[in-house]
């Protein structure tokens, strides 16, 4: 289980990294935390001829919050964000607690997980839930891509071959906000069979806004728009939540694999959505 031969670069600046991507394009793979890429290299499932190790690139490891706007450098380790978010954005911290195990999170990066775009991983769904955007840089310039447009399929994104993710930007919901996070995995730390993240705000006895993102259920993480619409302006009752949660898989093309058929994912997506919404409502009430 040794990787096929490749050429290795370890640039020190984002400009150098981007220049390497411009030169090598599709033949290059970016190495950040390596928690997904290295096993794929070892299994020879990924066979880049060039590996661009960005771990020594400076300036990509900051976390900054201004009001609801949260900016996270691409090289921020998942464990670092988890610790930072523990008191500030408990939804994010809780979701990160489900990413692999602590030693994996100590190496795995936030930008890497999002760029890798595994449909069953937590961070892409959280970015989608928190109306996030991806900042991508290339020799052609810098652009932002909304999470809704970013995830295009399993391990497929809107990134071009010459682009490097430098930052992700998240919108933290204003208080009084409630949140819910539920995930079904075979074992602790496994990729989710299905999971759901909810951010919800209450106002005057009704649900002002709910943001609901599912992961693991289909080829990409998805926002459960039908659920969100069904909740908006409604009283946060068990019946309203139950009815709305039944819409969680409307329009979702659930996937099957070795561990669960599509029907299981769809059924459990609805169950977990109801539970996460109930959690979010309870927390929002506590916060109010």
């Amino acid at each position: 289980m040794k990787p096929a031969p490749f050429e290795y670069f370890d640039p020190r600046t984002a400009d150098e990294a981007v220049a390497l991507l411009t030169t090598h394009g599709d033949d290059a793979k970016i190495l950040a935390g390596g928690q997904s890429l290295v096993p794929m290299l070892a299994l020879r499932l990924a066979r880049p001829t060039v590996v661009v190790d960005v771990n020594r690139v400076s300036g990509l490891d900051g976390i900054a919050q201004q009001g609801p706007a949260l900016a996270v450098g691409a090289l921020v380790r998942q464990r670092a964000l988890e610790r930072w978010a523990a008191e500030r954005v408990p939804l994010l911290a809780t979701a990160l607690g489900h990413v692999g195990h602590a030693p994996i999170r100590a190496r795995g990066t936030v930008g890497g997980s999002i760029a890798h775009a595994d449909p069953a991983s937590e961070l892409p769904a959280l970015l989608l839930c928190l109306d996030g955007v991806v900042v991508a840089r290339s020799a052609r310039g810098t652009r932002t891509i909304a999470a809704r447009d970013f995830f295009q399929g399993p391990l497929m994104t809107a990134l071009a071959a010459d682009e490097l993710v430098t930052e992700t930007r998240w919108t933290v919901p204003p208080a009084p906000a409630g949140w819910g996070f539920r995930e079904m995995a075979r074992r602790h730390g496994d990729f989710a069979l299905v999971g759901v993240a909810v951010a919800l705000t209450l106002g005057r006895g009704a649900i002002a806004e709910a943001r609901v993102a599912l992961f693991g259920a289909s080829a990409t993480p998805v926002r459960a728009d039908a659920v969100e619409r069904a909740l908006r302006g409604q009283p946060p009752t068990e019946a309203v939540i139950g009815d709305a949660a039944r819409l969680a898989t409307a329009g979702v093309d659930a996937v099957s694999d070795l561990h669960a058929p599509a029907s299981y994912r769809a059924s459990v997506a609805r169950t977990l959505t109801a539970r996460a919404l109930a959690d979010a409502v309870a927390r929002a009430k506590d916060a109010a």
């Binding site: 289980m1 020879r44 074992r187 990729f191 561990h259 669960a260 459990v268 539970r275």
Partner: protein, 780 residues
């Protein structure tokens, strides 16, 4: 023998080096000029090799050699098969057994994904792997069979066409008159149970290093094996050398579980390459190779009929059993007959019949893995008993109370042979006492009282029971050698390999007590063929009993020699000489005590005088056991099932077990815990999955789910001690037991949790998807 150490919870002496990361595993063996091997393996489940062209590979940087079958034709012999039918068994059961040649390098047809087509030797593993990719094989895919039942039917594609069938082991067997018993039953339950393919998955994969010494024509090989003497025997044939020219060393092992007790192509190919190239060669199995080519295990289907009176008295049993053996019948009747010999277990059943088919399929060959047929057969039996109890409206504990064999009925003679050919007669134990001990420890009655209240709150908890009686410590013997050095310190060597069980501690306890020396005087080594000429190895819960008794025998003989020498030295009658704490002394005269080192030294001739006795303070022993001893246990699992997701959470696990006299309770508990962990894997997580074309779907540990610490519940162990009359130390085997009952106990607990819904778990692993589907099926 004074029992100073025997029975004491002595700390494991081998642990400091493991905890410090100083274990010496096969991959830690490095030699000057070492080359590295990689293998090209079949990507097909069944395919003919039209041609192999290694021209490109041979020209690649660092490549020293590429071998296909024809390149090593002069050396190629079929791999060894195990488990020849013992005469006593052959006389009682008419087996129809077929074997086919399995070659270390595929000769013309590959019969499973992972079978080796070619070997590359290069100056680094990475370069060897690069070159293996560059070998051009013209494969001609052939029809494959993956399902064992379909494979047994006429018209199925044939794995070995010369047999005209895929049934490699077929037999029927019975005791009493099962059909008459079933005809007389008030109720006959019939159900089919399926046990998936799951495997040992040691943390350390397999590996081989070989060194050929041309000067004296000796081959030394380090092999991560549980059976170094078997590996040696295989090499005797393959290398055409006498055994004393072949030294097999099993270094520290990171687990074995039976996976490392089979014979493998690489055991032969790496030494052959070393000999042909006259260079040392190393191969460390990577996890991908391990998944596809190290022995698989389990995988049975039972269609069981269980007849009973309305009061729950079980009358008779019939079982139609299929076993998936994989592509080659490596282990003969071992797994099929083990399955039959453990079907009845602790139940008082005099009428049984079985129809057994061991079937070959285009999958990795199966071998015994911790339990070796017992987890499967216990799953079928204990699930059937619970289904019967539910149908009769009897509590699962109560039906067992009624049907477990009582201690006053022992020795219990089945009237059929055990797998070793000797009569299957339970020697000692108390199965009802184990049942009550396990139920007590699990708080069974309180659990039952609380269960309906919890259900009313939407909390679905269940409790499940499973018991087994296990033939352990199969013979015929183990080799041991005990010798003293100039200071009286003790070296113990045995053929039993320490694959993590704590041999260096437990065997030192036996030797220290028998000799009368402090524990830290004793050094134990296992699995070096140069240290013990004849040995068997570590598997089948056998080392404690077989090696333990051999070590005691040899140590006793050495003690006799010490006593004789000390008597001369102390000018006393041998009968008056005692040995304790490393000193010999005349009874009642502690002032006479001399250090054993002095006794040894006084025996060595000097220029001035001969010694007080011949300085021969060593002995070998090969303790023969008459047959197996029967260990037993009752397991109780408590689970909570999430009705919305099908997720099963283990709340608690209890094991009440008897393994006879215990050398070291800490080691015993560790063994129980490890076994339960692997049993939990089988119950809830692990499955080696193939598609219908024989393609392996679980090629990595991302897909093959081994439980980790966070997936395991607290485990309570209750020790019951019923010494075996079949060996001087009164011991029974223990290594496998923990792994036997968890699938049945946990599945019974899931059924129990969901009993108002009528859910019936008939197949493992009980994954969330499977449990939720069974809830939905029951509701429909």
């Amino acid at each position: 023998m004074g029992a100073k150490y025997f029975g004491a919870a002595v700390r494991r002496r081998e642990d400091p080096r493991f905890l410090r990361g100083e274990g010496r595993f096969v991959d830690d063996v490095t030699l000057p000029g070492l080359l590295h091997a990689a293998f090209l393996r079949s990507p097909h489940a069944h395919a003919r090799v039209r041609s192999i062209d290694a021209t490109r590979a041979r020209g690649m940087p660092g490549v020293v050699a590429v071998f296909a079958h024809a390149d090593l034709g002069r050396w190629m012999k079929p791999l060894p098969v195990f488990g020849a039918t013992p005469p006593g068994l052959a006389a009682a059961v008419r087996f129809d057994v077929r074997h086919a040649a399995q070659w270390a390098l595929c000769k013309d047809v590959a019969r499973h994904v992972g079978e080796i087509a070619a070997m590359v030797v290069a100056d680094s593993r990475a370069r060897a792997e690069d070159a293996a990719e560059a070998i051009d094989v013209a494969w001609e895919p052939l029809p494959a069979v993956a399902d064992m039942v379909a494979a047994s039917e006429p018209g199925a594609a044939l794995v070995h066409p010369e047999w005209s069938t895929n049934v490699a082991v077929g037999f029927t067997h019975g005791i009493g008159d099962a059909e008459r018993a079933l005809a007389g039953a008030d109720v006959v339950l019939e159900e089919t149970f399926r046990i998936q393919r799951y495997v040992g998955m040691p943390l350390e994969t397999r590996g081989v290093v070989a060194l050929w010494d041309r000067r004296d024509g000796t081959l030394t090989t380090w092999n991560s094996t549980q059976v170094s003497h078997f590996v040696q025997q295989g090499l005797v044939g393959a290398l055409e050398l006498p055994p004393h020219k072949i030294r097999v060393i099993a270094p520290d092992l990171g687990g074995g579980f039976g996976t490392k007790a089979s014979g493998y192509p690489e055991d032969v190919l790496v030494p052959l390459a070393a000999r042909v190239l006259n260079r040392p060669v190393k191969w460390i199995e990577d996890r991908r190779e391990h998944m596809m080519a190290a022995a698989h295990a389990r995988h049975q289907t039972h269609t069981i009929r269980l007849g009973a009176r309305r009061d729950g008295t079980i009358l008779g049993l019939a079982d139609r059993i299929f076993l998936d053996l994989g592509a080659y019948n490596v282990w003969g009747i071992v797994l099929p007959y083990n399955t039959v010999a453990h079907l009845i277990g602790p139940y008082r059943i005099r009428d049984m019949k079985v129809d057994v088919k061991g079937v070959v399929t285009n999958k990795t060959p199966n071998a015994p893995y911790r339990g070796a047929g017992r987890p499967e057969t216990v799953f079928a039996m204990d699930r059937a008993v619970d289904c019967l109890a539910r149908r009769l409206g009897i509590d699962p504990a109560e039906i067992r109370r009624k049907n477990y064999i009582r201690p006053d009925e022992l020795p219990w003679d089945f009237g059929m042979p055990y797998r070793d050919g000797n009569p299957l007669v339970y020697d000692s134990g108390d199965f009802p006492a184990a049942l009550e001990a396990a139920l007590d420890a699990a708080g069974y009655d309180a659990f039952r009282r609380e269960q309906p209240t919890l259900r009313a709150r939407g909390v679905w908890r269940g409790i499940g029971i499973s018991g087994y009686v296990e033939g352990t410590a199969i013979g015929p013997f183990e080799g041991a050698h005990v010798k003293l050095d100039l200071t009286g310190r003790v070296q113990v060597a045995t053929g039993a390999v320490n694959s993590g069980q704590g041999h260096e501690t437990a065997f030192a306890q036996v030797a220290a007590d028998t000799l009368g020396v402090p524990l830290d005087w004793v050094t134990v080594t296992g699995g070096d063929t140069a240290a013990v000429p004849f040995g068997v190895g570590t598997f089948a819960s056998r080392s404690g009993v077989t090696a333990g008794n051999s070590i005691a025998d040899a140590a006793r003989e050495v003690r006799g020699k010490l006593v004789a020498a000390a008597a001369t030295l102390l000018e006393a009658a041998p009968d008056d000489v005692e040995i304790d704490d490393g000193k010999a002394f005349v009874r009642g005269a502690p002032g006479s005590a001399v250090d054993l080192g002095k006794v040894v030294q006084a025996s060595i001739p000097t220029f001035a005088k001969p010694g007080v006795a011949p300085p021969d303070f060593e002995a070998s022993a090969y303790h023969h056991v008459p047959t197996v001893t029967y260990a037993s246990a009752v397991h109780v699992a408590q689970v909570e099932v999430d009705r919305g997701t099908g997720y099963v959470r283990l709340l608690r696990y209890v094991v009440a077990h008897d393994c006879g006299k215990v050398i070291n309770p800490t080691i015993v508990e560790g063994q129980v815990h490890g076994g339960v962990a692997q049993g939990v894997g089988g119950a809830l997580f692990e499955e080696m999955a193939y598609d219908s074309e024989g393609q392996l779907l679980t090629g990595t540990l991302m897909d093959y789910l081994v439980p980790s610490a966070t997936d395991l519940p607290p485990i309570d162990t209750v020790h019951l001690e019923y010494p075996s009359p079949r060996n001087p130390l009164g011991m029974k085997g223990l290594g496998e037991g923990g792994a036997i009952s968890p699938p049945a106990a946990i599945a019974n607990a899931i059924d129990d949790a969901l009993s108002p819904l009528g859910v019936r778990i008939t197949e493992t692993p009980a994954s969330p998807a499977r449990v939720l589907a069974s809830i939905e099926t029951a509701r429909a």
